[in-house]
């Protein structure tokens, strides 16, 4: 087991950032710490890196107790949301930094830097300054810089958070492929559930200083441990007093089972290929359903039409929390 976090607590004044965190992150995997802003996921990452000191608890990295080790001695690669590029150094010098600190022979440094720049597709920019790169290029440079020291774990704090949507998506795919090549144990923080579901081998859902659930993307999506995880990982709606995903709601002109509820379409919203329906049932429940464009057209759905809504067979549902909770 690569990283073991045991009983970690961290407070800032009255604010509890982390409360009794126990977490094991396996070697060689890509793990996402997923959660809303202010939930403690970045603090947890910084505790693992040694950039924050926990009030109590321990951090073990590759079998060595790192709790009292300063960040310099932990041999972790850390990538910051805003790149933290060394502005006065060229791209190559940025990547070489950790190796120069370690006083490696010059030829070895040059070879390693060339290899890493090749890996992150920045070879032709070796002599540029960071200010002459785009955001995505800067983040790739930061990643190469972190990988140069051959870290035992690679930690990324919202690595794509400052980039625009298209570059984000590209870099996300690229990170997944890079990880398949390099195989270093990687932990990244994100508040974007799509990013976590797409990239990670394992997801740790962090909320209000605690861990809600740990599992593979499939486990989390299909069998969420509680309503928070269910609603954080995707859209949810209520149907017959139960939480359900809108794409698991069947919309039909006539009832198809004893669970079918009658209602009227109150809103039709088209987003690209999908159509989002709001149905007001006769019991006064507001149900959201998602259908494809073709399906919706076949049913001739428009506002005011009478329909029946039914949970799809095999759909995952859980009891909706009472409004007071």
């Amino acid at each position: 087991m690569s990283i073991e976090v045991t009983g970690v607590n961290k407070r800032y004044g009255d604010f509890v950032a982390l409360e009794d965190i126990n977490l094991t992150i396996p070697t060689g995997q890509l793990t996402a710490l997923l959660g809303p802003s202010g939930g403690g996921k970045t603090t947890l990452l910084r505790v693992i890196a040694g950039l924050e000191t926990p009030d109590s608890g321990s951090v073990v990295i590759e079998g060595n107790d790192a709790t009292s080790l300063p960040v310099q001695k932990r041999n972790v690669g850390f990538v910051f949301q805003h790149y933290a590029a060394f502005k006065h150094l060229s791209v190559a010098k940025n990547v070489a930094f950790g190796l120069e600190i370690r006083k490696r022979p010059r030829a070895e440094i040059q070879a390693k830097v060339a290899e890493l720049l090749e890996l992150v597709h920045l070879s032709q920019f070796a002599n540029r300054l960071p200010s002459q790169l785009s955001g995505g290029q800067r983040q790739r440079m930061a990643l190469a810089r972190a990988l140069a020291i051959e870290p035992s774990v690679l930690l990324l704090d919202e690595p794509f958070g400052a980039l625009d949507a298209k570059v984000r998506k590209e870099l996300r795919d690229w990170l997944r492929r890079l990880h398949d090549e390099v195989h270093v144990t990687t932990v990244f923080v994100t508040h974007d559930q799509e990013e976590a579901l797409e990239v990670a081998d394992e997801i740790v859902v962090v909320n209000q200083g605690g861990i809600e659930q740990i599992g593979t993307p499939e486990q989390l999506y299909d069998e969420p441990a509680n309503d928070f995880v269910m609603s954080f990982l995707g859209d949810v709606t209520t149907l017959g007093g139960a939480l359900i995903r809108p794409h698991d709601v069947e919309v039909t002109p006539s009832p198809i089972s004893e669970h079918s509820l009658e209602g009227t379409v109150s809103r039709v919203l088209r987003i690209g290929f999908e159509v989002r329906l709001t149905v007001l049932t006769d019991d006064g429940e507001v149900v959201t359903a998602e259908l494809t464009r073709t399906h919706a057209r076949a049913l001739q759905l428009e506002e005011g039409v009478n329909v029946f809504v039914t949970p799809s067979p095999g759909a995952y549902t859980m009891p909706a929390p009472s409004p007071a909770a």
Partner: protein
Amino acid sequence: MAETRRAPRTPLTYVLRLVVIAYLCLLVAWPVVLVGWNAFHVPDVGFTTEAFAGIFSDPQMMHAIRLTCIAAVVATLINLVFGVSISLLLVRTEFPGKRILSALIDLPLSVSPIVVGLALVLVYGGRDGWFGPALESAGIQVIFSTPGIIMATAFVSLPLVIREVIPVLEEIGTEQEQAAASLGASSWQTFWRITLPGIKWAVVYGVVLTLARSLGEFGAVKVVSGNVLGQTRTATLAVEEKYLNFDQQGAYAVAFLLASVSVVCILIVFVLRARGARVR
């Protein structure tokens, strides 16, 4: 960088420009130019460099200039080291009394230099200062001697490096330093390789300002130096002495020298900054 939007030019724009230019000319440029003019121009004689020859052939005058240079350079070095460390302390750490310390640093700018001189005499005066007699018995004379002149100079120019460096330190933030630490750099290595290059231009600017201010210090030095000819008389004190003794030509010549050094300092910064901006 975002494009700067300019207000449309109206007659008011030109009036404002005229007012600013007139103000700067009448208050700064014209008087300073006149000092230079009078240093070279003697009524009824015309242009001459006689006054400058007089300075360079007068050993006591040369001593005064040398003393000024020594005091200014040493005071600047002290304020460079002290200024950079206190800026780091104020920006990068939290401690009780930080705001008081921050306010205290501006004191030398707001207090009259003559008060600074008197205060130093009270503490380090050889006969009845608070700390002076003890130092004197150890063989160190502060007041009426070079150490006192350096201290007075350092005191009045203390905030200049700090006030240049602090905003830049705040702007560059701590992420680069944290990244360096995560790559294995010790705090000393992080300072030399990351922090110092980041604040380089602020430090250069602060040093030049400090040097310019130190060369021209008069009030505080006058009190602590004793103004002994050939020993503790600095260049600025010599200007006053010459002026009061009706050697106006000589006074203008020394004044011109002092002003030239300051102007050169500012020019150096101007060129360096322009180059720095191009690199960035």
